[in-house]
Amino acid sequence: MITFIIRRLILAVPTLLFISLILFLLLDLAPGDPMAQMPLTIPDEVKQKMREALGLGEPLHIRYFKWLYQFFVVEPGYFLDWLFGTNMMEGTQRVVSWQFRTPVFDTIIERLPQTLWVVAMAYVVGVLIAIPIGIISAYKQYSVFDQAGTLVSMIGFSVPPFFSGVVVIVIFSVKLGWLPSIYDTTHVVKDWESFKVQLMQMIMPVMVLALQTTAQISRYMRSAMLDNLNQDYVRTARAKGLGEWSVVMVHVLRNSMIPVVTVIALGIPAIFGGAIITEQVFKVNGIGQLLITAIQANDIPMVQTITFIFAVLIVVFNLIADVLYGVLDPRIRYD
C-alpha cells in the first residue's frame, strides 16, 4: 500500500508539471499587457522597468522556472513563516497579481472561506440527501419513490445551475421575498440572529449546488446497492435470521459504500469548477468569482495560480480516491 501511494505521488509530479507547462504556455499567448492601463505620460524606459519588476521581459523558459520556484518554494515558505512566525522567506519575490498588485495567495486566502462555506456545505448536504435516497430507491426498486427519485436526479443532471439558480431567485426572493438573492460576504456571525441571517442567505446557493451532487451520488448509491442486494452473502445473512435493518444497513450498505466513497472523493474538485457558475449567479465573491474577474481583467498570474490550484485538487483527489478504494475494499491489492 505504502509503495503504491509513493509510486502514485511520484507519478503525480510529472503530471502536475506538464499541466503547469500547458497553462503557462497557453496564458503566455494572452494578448493583454499589464501596462495598458498605466498613464501615457510614463516614459518608455520606466514602463520597461515596471514590466521587469512584474517578471516580464525575460525569456519564456526563465519565466516558467521562476514561476515554478515561486509557486512551489516561495509560497509554501511564506505559509510556514506565517504559521511559525519566522521570516526565512524575507526579500523573495512572491506571485503578484497584476490587478491588485498584492500577492496572489493573499487574495485567494481572503476569498477561500466564502467558497468553502457555500461549496463544502453544499457538497455535504448533497451527499447526506443522496445516500438515503439511493438506499431507499434501491431497496424499493421500481416503486413510486424510486421513479420519483429517478425523475429528480434526471432534472438535477439536466437543469444547469445558472437556470435553477435564477428560478429559485425568482420564486424565493422576488415572488415570496423569503430569502435574499445576493450573498452578503461581509456578514459576520456573532450571535443567534446573525447566524440565522447567514443560514438564510446560504440556503439557495447550497440547494442549487446540492441538487447536482444529489442527482449524481444518489444514482451511484442506487446502482451500488442494487448490485449488492442480490448477492449470496445477503441471502446468507437473511437465512441466519438477521433482522432486515441490519442486513440492509450493515451488510449491504457497507459493501455498497466502497464505490460511492470513491465517487464522492472524485467529485470534490469538480464541484469547485461548478461553483464558478453558482457564485456568479448568487454574487458570492469566492474563488470562482475571483477567477472570472481575473480572466476579464487579464490578470495572468492570478488566472494561472487559480487554475493550477484546481488541477492540483483534481490530481490529489484522484489519488485519494484510489487509495481509499484500496483501503476500503480488501479485495483490491495494488502490489
Binding site: T15, F18, I19, I22, L23, L26, L27, L29, A30, P31, M154, I155, F157, S158, V159, P160, F162, F163, V166, V167, I169, V170, V174, K175, P269, G273, G274, I276, I277, Q280, V281, L291, I292, I295, Q296, V303, I306, T307, F310, A311, L313, I314, V315, N318
Partner: protein, 333 residues
C-alpha cells in the same frame, strides 16, 4: 455481443419473421416511455429552431424602441385580485401585450420569440457539431490505443492528463485568448462558433476514448477477430469492418451524453459572458442578459433557461433509453 448474426442463420429463418438487429433496438427503444418522449421533444425543438424562422419571420435583431418591454401574451392568465401572488388588474391594464409579440419584446424592442428561435439554432448547432467532433476524436484515440499496442501507454497517459485539467476555467481562458484572433479572421459569428465548437470538442472526448479502448481491447480477444485476421484482413479493414460496428453502441450512448454536456457547456460559457456576443445570442446568453432585470421581466430568463433544460433533459432520457435498447442482455426480455 452485438456482432451480426451469421447469414446462415438469417436465411434459415422464415422470411416474415426476419429481425434485424436495429429493428430489435428500435422495438426496445420504443418501449421506453421517457426516451420516446425525449426523442419527440428533441425532434420538435430541432424542427422548431430549423424551420421556425420561416414561419415566424420577424428579424430578431430589429430594434423597435417604441414597442419595447412587451409582456408575454399569457400574462392575463396570472391576473386576479384576491391574492397579492398574482398580477392585480390595474397593473395588467398598463402592460403591453398582444399577438404581435406572443412572448413579448425585450428592452430594445426585439421580439423574444424570434430571438429564442435564432438563439436555439446556434445552441443546438453548437451542441451537435461539438459532440460530433468529440466523438470523432474520442473514437480515433480509443481505437488507436486499443488496437495498436505501442500507442496504448502513450495515448492513455495523455487522456489521463487531459482528464486532470480543470476544464471549465481552461475553457474560459481559451475563449478569452483566441476570441479576437478568430473573430478577425472568420467574422464575429463564425469565428466564435468555430472556437466554441473546437474548444468543447477538444475537452470532452476523454470518456469516449476510454470506453472505446476498453471495448476494443475486449473485442480483440474474440474468435471472429481471430477468424478475420486468419483470412488476411488488412488492419484498416479490420477496424472499419469488424471493430467499429461493434463499438457503435457505447459510442452512441456517450454521444447523447456528449450532446447534453456540449449544450450545457456552451450555455455556461455564454452565461459567464465569454461566449457569443449579445447581438448574436444563444440561449445561455439570452438567459445571462435577462438576469439583471429578472425582478420585472422573469419570462425573459425563464424561457431560454427552460429551453436549455428541456433539450438536455430530452437528450438525457434518450441516452437512458438507448443504453437499455443497445444492451442485448436487457433487450432479450
Amino acid at each position: 455481443m452485438t456482432e451480426q448474426t451469421p447469414d446462415v442463420i438469417g436465411e434459415s429463418q422464415p422470411r416474415g419473421k426476419e429481425r434485424s438487429q436495429w429493428a430489435d433496438v428500435w422495438r426496445q427503444f420504443r418501449s421506453h416511455k421517457g426516451a420516446m418522449m425525449g426523442a419527440f421533444v428533441l425532434l420538435f425543438i430541432t424542427f422548431g429552431v430549423t424551420f421556425g424562422p420561416y414561419i415566424w419571420d420577424i428579424d430578431p435583431t430589429k430594434l423597435d424602441i417604441r414597442n419595447k418591454d412587451w409582456r408575454p401574451i399569457y400574462m392575463p392568465l396570472f391576473s386576479c385580485s384576491w391574492t397579492d401572488w398574482c398580477i392585480p388588474p390595474e397593473s395588467l391594464e398598463r402592460m403591453k401585450y398582444g399577438w404581435a409579440h406572443p412572448l413579448g419584446t425585450d428592452n430594445l424592442g426585439r421580439d423574444v420569440l424570434a430571438t429564442l428561435i435564432h438563439g436555439g439554432r446556434v445552441s443546438i448547432a453548437v451542441g451537435w457539431v461539438a459532440m460530433a467532433l468529440a466523438m470523432i476524436i474520442g473514437t480515433a484515440i480509443g481505437v488507436a490505443s486499443g488496437y495498436v499496442k505501442k500507442l496504448d501507454g502513450l495515448l492513455m497517459r495523455f487522456t489521463d492528463l487531459v482528464l486532470a485539467l480543470p476544464l471549465l476555467p481552461l475553457l474560459l481562458v481559451i475563449m478569452l485568448l483566441f476570441r479576437d484572433t478568430l473573430r478577425a479572421s472568420f467574422g464575429p459569428e463564425l469565428g466564435i462558433f468555430i472556437l466554441i465548437v473546437c474548444v468543447i470538442g477538444a475537452t470532452s472526448w476523454m470518456q469516449t476514448a476510454r470506453i472505446v479502448r476498453a471495448d476494443i481491447l475486449a473485442l480483440k480477444e474474440r474468435e471472429f477477430i481471430l477468424a478475420a485476421r486468419s483470412i488476411g484482413t488488412p488492419p484498416l479493414k479490420m477496424v472499419t469492418r469488424h471493430l467499429l460496428p461493434n463499438v457503435l453502441s457505447p459510442i452512441m450512448v456517450s454521444a447523447t451524453l456528449g450532446l447534453a454536456t456540449a449544450i450545457i457547456t456552451e450555455s455556461a460559457i455564454s452565461f459567464l459572458g465569454l461566449g457569443f456576443p449579445s447581438d448574436f445570442p444563444t440561449w445561455g446568453k439570452l438567459l445571462f442578459d435577462a438576469t439583471d432585470r429578472i425582478q420585472n421581466f422573469p419570462e425573459r430568463a425563464i424561457w431560454p433557461g427552460l429551453m436549455i433544460s428541456l433539450v438536455v433533459l430530452a437528450v438525457n432520457y434518450i441516452g437512458d433509453g438507448l443504453r437499455d435498447a443497445l444492451d442485448p442482455r436487457i433487450r432479450g426480455r
